[in-house]
Amino acid sequence: MELVWLIPALPLLAFLILIPFGRKLSDPGAGWFATLLVGGSFAVSAAVYLELMSRPADDRVVHQVLFTWIPAGDFSVDIGFLADPVSITMALFITGIGALIHMYSVGYMKGDPKYSKFFTYLSLFVASMLVLVLADNLLLTFLGWEGVGACSYLLISFWFNEEANATAGKKAFVTNRIGDFGFMVGTFLLWMTIGTINYVDIPERLGGITELTATAIVLLFFLGATGKSAQLPLFVWLPDAMAGPTPVSALIHAATMVTSGIFLLTRLEPLLFQAPIAGEVIAWVGLATALVAALAAVAQNDIKKVLAYSTISQLGYMFLALGSGAIVAGMYHMITHAFFKALLFLGSGSIIRSMSHEQDMRLYGRLRKYLPITSITFILGWLAIAGIPPFSGFWSKDEVLAAAYSSENLGVLKWGIGILVALLTAFYMTRLVIMTFFGPKENWRDPEKLEEIGVASSFDDSDPSADAEAHHLEPSHTPKESPWTMTVPLVVLATLATVAGILNLPFADRFKSLEIWLEPVLTHSHEAPVATTLFILAGVAIVAAVLGVIAAYFVYQKQKIPAERIEKPALVHALYINDTYAEVVAGPGTAVFQGIADFDATMVDGAVNGVAKVTTDAGNGLKPLQSGLVRTYALTLSAGAVLLLGYVVMRMSF
């Protein structure tokens, strides 16, 4: 199969052609062109996938070396691609979702003055992402890693005359640099220890590695992964990154780039099993991130920020799975999440667009009747993420939780926290859906509220191209459903989000197609708990999800209508819980959630800023030395000479 190189080459070709000719192709030519090539890349991926499927299970690897990139003696690095079940799975959903989002953007970006530039960046992003997953060695992966970082930076700051976008772009750049540092050092350490950074050779040479070295390497790569995949403590950039256009959020910050940390650790899976302590760290960091982000999501009013925190929280689940040794569960959740989260983001984009680029959910309400397709697809996505069977999210989340439960140390505690997160997830997602599509009234019709919140909402996905009128939501505004280019991807993704569960059903081994597919590449397999335990766990998860949904329903849908409560005495008890909960939410609870959100803004942000401040202070502290006075320079020079002489005097033999 000599076609593997075509997979990243096609989007790259789109990029190269769009640079000079993008303006000529203009709107919508450039968009369709890019969509076509990314779609072509999907077709090639599918062909490679079928080819691999047709081979025997232990021969499903295509390794293609194009040329030697760095020919430096021992440290020789190739430009080579490795298509095996892990990477081709990634490639499939990157190109698939990528093509859909390209198509969606054709409609979403319509009329933007930098239309063609947007697609130029977007196709470069897809190309980089494909290099990242298909690379056969760590350095080439790093190239893709940097590439996606750069593109994400460019795309976040796409509308760069806005201060917030520029700041967000900067933040993404800086946190990613910290992560990159871990990646680079890890690569060097691995190379020093086992003398190779090629994925094909890594498992063979791992024999002599000590647990300590393996732990150090895995943790360094995990540092890299926390940067890209927005985990504690480097997750600050992701909510801010929502300043970019919504398709970007869907593609980069939900479906693909943020999962590259998971992919990286999956690739280094042989190493992961040499470092149990690192696995434990990964699991707990993932869990903590999942919890903190879920709590923060409850306090958000910006629709995209809710989804952003939700993404961070779901990524935490994936790391929990990896840390617990359940690689397949991690991948499974990654795939289903890619479907439903891309769907939710695109849906939110459709909503935002129909609401004159207003992102504050407090101004939404009863949008169901204006946006029929968006609302139906969005609701399917909501059911998936909330973990309601038989939607895809339920199955994959269940596997992650089962893996956490059966892990060695404090498995039950991990599982318990995981369930809590699941409950919160169901709660905040229901809240979002109710505030947007249902709710008691159409909030933007209230001029006072509009005035109050419209001014307060600092975060504005405003599109400079749209005329000034369209920037502001008017009470008389009537939302309109989006064009077909936008709704078709929604429908496709909604279908996938609904049925993707069948990839890996737990009922019998033969239903676990994903596991069967991935197993040959993995060096270790994970033992699932016995069926009865599994069913009990699943039952608890369903209860948690339903509880979350119900709680949110009572808080947000019903609280304004006390009469109905009295009419339903059967629910009084539930209402009681609801009331206390409402009190908690309104009183100290708000404080907790807001506190967590503030923690993000002050503590974690502060840590990042603190590092920046320390370095700047250090620089400023050195400034007086640079006095501009030539005599002090001369003095420093001779003092330096004295110090060097002093050193050699100590080393002298008399």
Binding site: T68, W69, I70, P71, A72, G73, F75, F142, L143, E146, G147, A150, S157, F160, N161, E163, A166, G169, K170, F173, V174, R177, I178, D180, F181, M184, V185, F188, W191, M192, A612, T615, T616, A618, G619, N620, L622, K623, L625, Q626, G628, V630, T632, Y633, A634, T636, L637, S638, A639, G640, A641, L644, L645, Y647, V648, V649, R651, M652, S653, F654
Partner: protein, 521 residues
């Protein structure tokens, strides 16, 4: 050690001189020297009839000629091995030829940027180019010196010409100030270097690097005080020239004040030559025997340069000063290659220097254009909105900055990778970590410039919806400067995407010290 013209003391007594100067061996330096002096002659003959374009063309042709002369020599050296010429005072090896090429490249860039710059500043004159060529001849001499004396003379030729060039912008007070600062401190550091040479002479009995090498290999010096002090003092001199902390203080002031095209040469060619001299002395001559004595000192300089360069750079507001500090940090990186004290380290340092020459030429080249008349618009604010008014220029500058930051697919990434690889190979892992950390800190700095070009609204129009624009007169790009920027851009990207050929050449450019073969009578 009687060489060249007479072979034995008896020959000398008998007046028996053989005339066997190997002209071809010193051809690159010779071409540069003659090119410079001939230009002076031509100008005095055709006074006033020559356009300044002629000077530029002359300089580019001469520097190109020097590169062309180096190529057959390179093939000779690769086939027949390195050799010493001119009575053992010139070493002809892959190393010196590679460095010759890099210095000439830097000269070509400086000349191309100077052309438009001098017209803009109304300072046209042949002297700039004469000094540039002669200075490059000094640099080439330094790189191929096999004798501390030749190295010193080469260093002075290189430096004095640059002191003058730094002060040549007669309409800038700061240019004169830069010249004087550079001069006073340069002379001061030269005195230290000379004192160091004297100590080495006392310690080994000779200034010839080949002889020193042989002497140290054959004898164990039990009382090594003189030699060690000599090494320390030599390091002061070299540290000054390569702008290593704490001998770096002149760098930002001089880079800021000096005419910007001259800075492309100062930061490129001069540094390359200084590193070449340093590698020849420390790695090749003292490396085999005294590496453990000098390594800790160079280690300290490298760490300080990496850290201080990066920290100071991020608090600057003047772009030329930022780039100056970042060049200090780059010097720290190149010192890693020196520290490795191996063929691999030398090759890494050479590759870094090659990439660095392009990056720095490009970066300061852009600064030349942005400075506009008066060469003074170098504050971060002066770069605001460049992304809109001059998208091509902004993109080019971004690539150079990213390359300096070490982003993959640019030459800068490869260069950093090689030196770090070399240092890891030598077992200095901590230093590799510090280097990577310094690269992370420097990334902020490059980002600041990029952000200012693309994202920041101009202060004047903060309230209005108008897109940010450059303040002051429009930026003009002279054709030659545009050409130079294009070349540098292509080179930086090519070195990042297919570094293979260049690394192979750098790997072949090993420095060797070969005693001169007696010519049969």
């Amino acid at each position: 050690m009687i060489g060249l013209l007479a072979h034995t003391p008896d020959d000398l007594a008998a007046g028996n001189f053989s005339h066997s100067v190997s002209w071809s061996a010193i051809a690159p330096a010779l071409i540069l020297m003659l090119g410079g002096i001939l230009l002076l002659v031509i100008v005095s003959v055709f006074r006033g009839k020559l356009s300044s374009g002629f000077f530029t063309a002359w300089t580019v042709i001469v520097a190109g000629g020097a590169i062309a002369a180096a190529i057959p020599l390179w093939h000779d050296v690769q086939e027949d091995g390195a050799r010493s010429e001119m009575a053992g005072s010139v070493g002809l090896d892959g190393f010196s030829l590679f460095v010759t090429g890099v210095i000439c490249i830097s000269v070509i860039f400086a000349a191309l940027f100077l052309d438009g710059y001098l017209r803009r500043e109304k300072l046209e004159g042949p002297e700039w180019y004469v000094l540039l060529l002669l200075s490059a001849a000094g640099g080439v001499t330094m790189a191929s010196a096999n004798d501390l004396l030749v190295l010193f003379v080469g260093l002075e030729i290189l430096s004095i010409a640059v002191y003058i060039l730094a002060a040549m912008h007669s309409r800038r007070v700061t240019s004169q100030e830069a010249g004087l600062k550079y001069f006073v401190l340069g002379a001061f550091s030269s005195a230290f270097l000379l004192y160091g040479i004297a100590f080495v002479y006392g310690g080994t009995g000779t200034t010839n690097l080949v002889s020193i090498n042989i002497f140290l290999a054959d004898n164990v010096i039990t009382q090594n005080g003189l030699l060690l002090a000599g090494l320390a003092l030599l390091l002061v001199g070299f540290g000054f020239k390569i702008a290593a902390v704490p001998f770096h203080l002149w760098t930002p002031d001089v880079y800021q004040g000096a005419p910007t095209p001259v800075v492309t040469y100062m930061a490129g060619g001069v540094k390359v030559a200084a590193f070449a001299g340093m590698i020849r002395v420390f790695v090749v001559t003292f490396g085999p025997t005294y590496v453990n004595e000098w390594r800790p000192m160079v280690y300290a300089l490298a760490v300080l340069s990496l850290v201080v360069g990066a920290l100071m750079a991020i608090v600057q507001t003047n772009v030329k000063r930022m780039l100056a500090f970042s060049s200090i940090s780059h010097a720290g990186f190149i010192l890693l290659g020196v520290l490795a004290s191996s063929d691999q380290g030398t090759a890494a340092a050479l590759f870094y220097l090659l990439v660095y020459t392009f990056m720095v030429a490009g970066s300061f080249g852009v600064a030349t254009l942005i400075g506009r008349t008066g060469d003074g618009r170098q504050n971060l604010g002066d770069y605001r909105g460049l992304g809109r008014s001059r998208p091509g220029l902004a993109l080019t500058f971004t690539v150079f900055l990213l390359a300096q930051a070490g982003v993959p697919l640019t030459g800068g990434f490869m260069a950093k990778l090689y030196v770090i690889g070399a240092i890891v190979e030598s077992g200095m892992t901590v230093l590799a970590l510090i280097a990577m950390l310094s690269a992370v800190i420097s990334a902020f700095l490059y980002l600041r410039i990029v952000v200012s070009m693309y994202f920041e609204a101009s202060t004047d129009s903060a309230d209005s919806e108008e897109p940010a624009e450059l303040s002051g007169p429009p930026v003009r790009i002279p054709k030659l400067a545009g050409l130079a920027l294009g070349l540098a851009l292509v080179a930086v990207l090519a070195l990042g995407i297919v570094p293979g050929p260049a690394t192979r050449v750098a790997g072949d450019a090993t420095a060797e010290l070969v005693p001169e073969v007696e010519v049969p009578q």
